[in-house]
Every structure is written in structure tokens, then in C-alpha cells.
Symmetry: C2
Subunit: 224 residues, 2 copies
DNA sequence: TTATAAGTTTAGACAAATCTAAAAATAGTA
DNA sequence: TACTATTTTTAGATTTGTCTAAACTTATAA
């Protein structure tokens, strides 16, 4: 119907993420924080997004994204994550370097371009941070992830992603080789501070709860 | 010094192209035509570009791009042409399909991205239309091109580019296989309308003056 | 249940980029 | 040279996205 502006695309993406992939309703101030702007600006924009039927908005009641809005948001997220795959896999950037470039590339509008990029990359299902890539219809894989901090001593896990996407955290994990796909065994969990001793290939080292809380894992299974 | 906006980048690129790669001075109305806007809007923008020292501007006297402005323009042109190479060589788009996508991609700001893209593509010297790609310092190759319409009967030439970049023209040439790098022999030039009979690999066909005027060539030499 | 705090919206303003209409400058030509 | 025609600039508005400060609504807790 309407062609969203870059700003509108960014608002819709933020609302979608804040609403826990479209489910919860979101309040003005959390959008303001995430967009690094003022509540007044957000209110202005919410009225516009509502006029275009991308969100349901009632004064003082918060917003819920509509199907239409969700479609826009998922399109942007698809582009963002595909470009991140391109930047890491093809141009050999590190996983902590790609986000800001993808923030620009995600607004390049051609659908045909993203279709061919997807094909060229081999139709990847996940981005470098382990986040699922929606297909053209908005569907994406969602394997049951949980936090490494909830893992048990003696068990073996595979890293599937992170909950903290900051450069600082990603760089920190890279130093330890803690990337999606890597196998981690928990050797010991300290009672005192819930820090853990883990084994990654041949290395053994300590992870604080602060770190383990932000790593997503799944159970290790030999096949697949 | 200043960070140009996307609009400022587009104005500088247009001024650079209109000034015949920085040499001639350019008037307001030609910029307006090329930017598909009004002379009034151009005047407004010229004042801004002048304030930022990207052009020398005096009321009613036309503009000349400065060294600084030329550097900005060449940076954008470099990005545009590298993305066009990416789109044709890697994503397998046709040469008549890539321009509009490159118009968006050229404004993605990361210098490191373009550096790595350049490397990934093998440091190409020309884009799909035969236009030279500036290096990081703004230097580019410029082989002595002339129009096919100035070629002689019985001579053999190599296509190096086009002067008309419209989709319609590029599509037309693609139908005949007339792309940069292709060898063309002029069999006969008609006195009446200056149309020419040409041989391209095994095919022989007629080209109107309208077409031959817009094809750039260089003399054929067996080596190199 | 009422006061206060927290969150949200409105009012009014601003910068960037654009437009139309009118005024001013320059160019072309008799 | 003097009169038009063309080009360019100015004046005044508009749209988008933003801001601060003030007003208003809702939540919290004494
Ligand atoms: Mn990202
Ligand atoms: Mn990511
Ligand atoms: Mn182009
Ligand atoms: Mn080109």
C-alpha cells in the first residue's frame, strides 16, 4: 500500500523486536530508548505508523504491531541478516563488525537484489550471531534455545546465538572462540558466584555468570 | 571535514559529471535538469555546497567543483561502479538492470566495506558499462576512446563503453551482443544515412548512426 | 483515597530539502 | 543601444523528522 521511509522502517523494526517478535504490546518510552530519541518524537511517529495501518495505537495505551507492520519489519530483518552473512562469509568481516553496515544495507529497496543475494549465499537459515533469517514470506526457524547459565555441569552443548549483541560482548566471545556452532562442555559450576569452568576444543577457561547468561545454547547431539 | 548528506552526494556527483570530470563550469539549469528538480532548489543547494567548500559558487556565474568536492564525487562514483561490478559479475544481473540499485548502494558509507568489496572483485578497473573505476585516491584509467560512428570500413575495433547509459539503449545492445570487450568489424558504411554493416563474431547486421554514435571503441590490437 | 511520581501527549519551534510565483540579472537580437 | 527572452535568484510555503517545555493521564503508595 504505502512505501515506508527509512525512518518508518527503523521504527517498525524496533517495535517488532521490543514486542518479542510481534506478541506483546509496547510502550512509548521503551521505543524512545531503543531509537535513541525522545518520547515526544515517538508519539509523533506512532500517529503516522497508525495512519498507515502498520500498528494499532491508542493514546496512553501503547502499541501493537499489525500483520502489515510485521511484514514490513520481517522484510527489513531478512535483509539485515542476509547482508550480515554476506559481510562475514564473503567479505570476511568479524561478527562484531557487521551490524552497523547492515543497518545501512537493510534499507536498499530492491527485492530482486535480496532474492539473488540469498541464492548466492546458499539460502542461509541463520545470521553470524545465530539469529534466524526470515524467508520471503516471513517464516523462520526457531529451535528451542536456552541460556548457557542454565546448563548443567558435565553436559555438552552447542552455541546457537547470543542475547547481548553489543560489539564489546561479541569481541569478548571471539577472543575465546565462542561462536555459533562451537561445542562447549561445562566442567564445573561454582556455587559461590555461578561462574563456570568450560571446555572448548582443547582450551579450558572460566566464564562469569554475566557472560554465560548472554550465550544461547542447545543440547549437543552427535548426528545432524 | 563535513559529512555530506545523501542529497549533497548526489548533487556533487551530478556537478562532477556535468563539468566533464571537473574541468568546465556548470550552470544552474543543467543541474536542475540532471537532478530532476527546479532551478530554485538547485540555487538553495549551491549555497550549502559552497558553504562547505565543495564548490566555488558566485551568484549568476555558475559553479566549479573544488578539489574537496571532486574527492567526494569520485568516492561516490567509485562505490557506484564497484557495486555495479558486484551486481553483474557476482549476482548475475544484466548490465541494463544494475544502475538503480547502485544509486542506492553508493551511499552506504563504510570505507572498509568498499575496500573489501574491491578486493573481493579482484580490483576491477572498469564497470559493466566500460566506465573506469577510480581507486581510493581518485585516480582512474582513461584509454583513448572514440565513437564507433567515427570508425572506418574494413577496420576492426573493440567496444570499450557507451555514451548513452539508458536502460533502453543497453537492452538494445545486449540483444546484439554488443558489450564492452567484444570485437566489431565494420564491413560497409552507407553513404546515404551513415548506417553501417558490422560483423560481431559470426553475426552480420546493420547499425543506425543513432546507435553507432553512442558506442565507444578503441582500435583492435591482437595482443593485450 | 489522595498526593506524588512516572509516563505520555501536545504546543510550538527548527533544520533539511523541496516547491511555486515573483523579482532580478544576464544574454540575445533588432 | 534598447528591448525581449532566458536564466537565475529570492520570498514564502510545505513536508518530514526532530527537539524542549508544558500539560495531561495513569500508576504507586502513603
Ligand atoms: Mn545486526
Ligand atoms: Mn545479527
Ligand atoms: Mn550506473
Ligand atoms: Mn556504470
Amino acid at each position: 500500500m504505502y512505501q515506508p521511509t527509512v525512518t518508518e522502517e527503523n521504527y517498525l523494526k524496533a517495535i517488532y523486536h521490543l514486542s518479542n517478535t510481534g506478541t506483546k504490546s509496547v510502550n512509548t518510552s521503551s521505543i524512545a530508548t531503543s531509537m535513541e530519541t525522545t518520547a515526544a518524537s515517538v508519539t509523533d511517529m506512532l500517529r503516522k505508523l497508525s495512519d498507515k495501518e502498520w500498528i494499532n495505537y491508542e493514546k496512553y495505551k501503547g502499541v501493537k504491531i499489525t500483520r502489515k507492520g510485521e511484514k514490513v519489519a520481517l522484510g527489513i530483518i531478512r535483509k539485515h541478516r542476509l547482508w550480515e552473512v554476506f559481510l562475514t562469509n564473503i567479505l570476511e568481516f568479524e561478527w562484531d563488525e557487521v551490524h552497523n553496515m547492515a543497518e545501512e544495507l537493510e534499507h536498499v529497496s530492491s527485492e530482486e537484489l535480496i532474492k539473488r543475494l540469498d541464492k548466492f549465499l546458499g539460502h542461509p537459515k541463520f545470521d553470524p550471531h545465530g539469529d534466524p533469517i526470515p524467508d520471503q514470506t516471513g517464516k523462520m526457524e526457531s529451535h528451542d534455545k536456552f541460556n548457557l547459565s542454565a546448563g548443567e555441569a558435565g553436559e555438552k552443548y552447542i552455541i546457537t546465538g547470543v542475547t547481548d549483541h553489543s560489539t564489546l560482548f561479541l569481541k569478548h566471545l571471539r577472543k575465546y572462540g565462542l561462536l555459533p556452532g562451537v561445542t562447549v562442555s561445562i566442567a564445573e559450576i561454582m556455587d559461590y558466584d555461578k561462574s563456570m569452568l568450560v571446555k572448548v576444543s582443547k582450551d579450558k577457561f572460566h566464564l562469569s555468570l554475566e557472560v554465560s547468561k548472554n550465550i544461547l545454547i542447545k543440547k549437543y547431539v552427535s548426528s545432524k
